[in-house]
Amino acid sequence: MRKLSEKELTIRFIECTTELAIPSSEIIINQSATGNVISGAVLEAAVSWNDFYLLFLTDDIPQEDTLSIHFLDKELKLLDSATIGAMYSTGSFTSLQLIKPNTLTFRFIGDTDWTVKLFDKPTLTLPFLSDPKCVKRKLALSNYFKVLGSPIPEPAK
């Protein structure tokens, strides 16, 4: 598991055509455009693990940012995705740590250390129940990664 440099993997933001369009970007590998488009506007980190890539992107909406986590194979086929975020809330992606063999931790939102555990094949999960609150992903019975965290709500004012 290793963090990739900007030269190895980066993105090119695709200008949104409408206000409701989800920000998206093209993946650039070794300074060559690939034509593969994923959601997100700012590449926070790119990690290579076995024959897969794990990409962390935010939307460049500083006061209401969402973190997208994308799991792709070496052919850049999107195998799994999740987002972390909530309405009128924001976070900063920091403190990424790679823990061998298959774990990453980082900070983003909810005053918690978020953990991502990677699997090299789809692993059984329970939709809606397996993820912490405000982690959204497509309805599926299996996933390539699991998101863990104990986010806390905003304190009472």
């Binding site: 989800i22 900063s92 939102i109 009472a156």
Partner: protein, 234 residues
């Protein structure tokens, strides 16, 4: 025996009316929060556009515009949260925000526009202004994922309000005493909606901030109790 049957029929009728009022309660909840969201999206865009105009007309600098964008957007967000229903507010408070300071935003935007190794203080003044301009532009954007979801909920909310009105119109049209029935429909629906808002607010106090499931249950129970209670009093 007849009295018992009548009493049971009364309870059944009140329960059905309460359920009808719940449709309006849910519909209103699903309409208020998306409307607040639209106001938020509109206001922050207006704010960013105005700041850009102020800079181009020489009233303020790009640095001041970026600072004001930060402050004003936070203020707008607080106002809109205040206008949301207890359920909407609980949804918004689910995660403790870890906001970015202006210095952080400057550093991030510098890297985004001028590469990972760029340092803000080494940029030319034109490049520095482009960084501040980028911050102002970003401050004018609302998250499209949230806005799109809220728009869909708004359609659902309007649909439920339509169903609720249609049911009330049918009830009044088929009643013997139309004026009394119209008054009762209005009172029960109103009590269902206000009971829902009050129930959500009470649940929010009991469960604490950021507990949308608890607040939603509170809003539902409050709406049912309000409608059921008024139905009995009427």
């Amino acid at each position: 025996m007849t009295a018992i049957v009548n009493n049971e029929k009364n309870i059944f009728d009140h329960t059905i009316r309460s359920l009808e009022a719940e449709i309006a309660n849910i519909g209103v909840h699903l309409t208020i929060d998306p409307t607040s969201r639209q106001t938020y999206a509109r206001q922050i865009k207006v704010m960013a556009d105005k700041l850009r105009k102020d800079v181009t007309s020489g009233k303020i600098t790009w640095v001041q515009a970026a600072e004001q964008a930060q402050e004003t957007r936070n203020l707008i967000m607080e106002i809109i949260r205040g206008r949301s229903t207890p359920v909407g507010r609980a949804m918004a408070q689910q995660l403790k925000s870890e906001g970015k300071t202006l210095n952080e935003l400057v550093a991030r935007k510098t890297q985004q526009l001028h590469g990972n190794n760029a340092v803000f203080k080494n940029l030319s003044s034109i490049q520095q202004n482009s960084v501040y301009a980028g911050i102002v532009k970003s401050a004018g954007k609302s998250n499209p994922r949230v806005t799109a979801t809220m728009r869909k909920l708004s359609y659902a909310g309007k649909g439920l309000i339509f169903v609720s009105i249609a049911l009330s119109v049918y009830t009044v049209a088929t009643a013997d005493d139309k004026i009394d029935t119209a008054g009762r429909e209005l009172a029960i629906t109103g009590a269902g909606i206000s009971g829902g808002i009050a129930g959500g607010a009470v649940a929010g106090l009991v469960c604490g901030p950021g507990a949308p499931v608890c607040v939603t249950v509170g809003a539902f129970v409050g709406g049912a109790l309000g409608a059921f209670g008024i139905g009995f009093v009427w």
